[in-house]
Amino acid sequence: MAHVSVTGDTLTVEVEGLDRLWALKSRIEIPLRNIRGATADPGITREPKGLRAPGTHFPGVIVAGTFHRDGEKVFWDVKNPELAVVVELSDEKYTRLVVEVTDPRATVALIEQALRD
């Protein structure tokens, strides 16, 4: 589970609890200008993830950490696919973030609103 917040011109993703251990990362900060959009997407966890480095992948249990596939670098922190949100980035180390949040609809609205302001 991750906590997504916006302060000023920055989106912050804080990985919570033990997921920090699995993801080997606790916090990601992205300037809003490098965010292209956000989408609630439960189906994405069924897609091939690629090679993890570093991170953890117990299929059906948790996907956490950095995964490489087709030249893309994706940060994952998802246990419950129903709560997955995809944040597409540009000019960043990661191509996109796929994180589990408490309320995907609210998180997507938060990011879209921040991009409009």
């Binding site: 989408t39 997407d41 897609e47 609205a109």
Partner: protein, 175 residues
Amino acid sequence: MPTLTGMGRPRAFDEAETVRAAARLFADRGFDGTSVDDLVNGLGVHRGSLYKVFGSKRGLYLAALRHHLDHEILPLTAALAAVDHPGTALSRAATGFDGGPAAGLLLLAAAERAPHDPEVAALVTEGLTALERTLGDPALAPALVATVLGLRLRARAGGGTGADAALALTNQLKE
């Protein structure tokens, strides 16, 4: 011959065709009712490519609505501008872009997304304003466009096209 670049594989799909097909899906099921899975399966495009090109489901939706305006609404209004009889113009507006299943996207966007999304609201306003301009009398046009939307909503629910009702209405108004 396509070449590989440092940023991954070249786009392996026709963007315009993808947007057109997405407009059909969104027109059928709405924004919330169309999942990314529906788009990936219905459009035959990789999920990563969708995100890379459009940024989000909303990005694709905005492109689909823009496509609907440019390829269906605005050509229709241009054609209606040449129609002299207001009743004919009204009935054609109510039925004229029923030819394809994407016909309801403007209507659905107005009801579903426009109240929550200023960019969708702006596109909807553009489409409705274009329709208003073709329906003549500026004082009556908003009510006539509302009639067009209402008739289309009935048609969507299986209530016939409403062309006769549109004609009857304008005949009444002229008297």
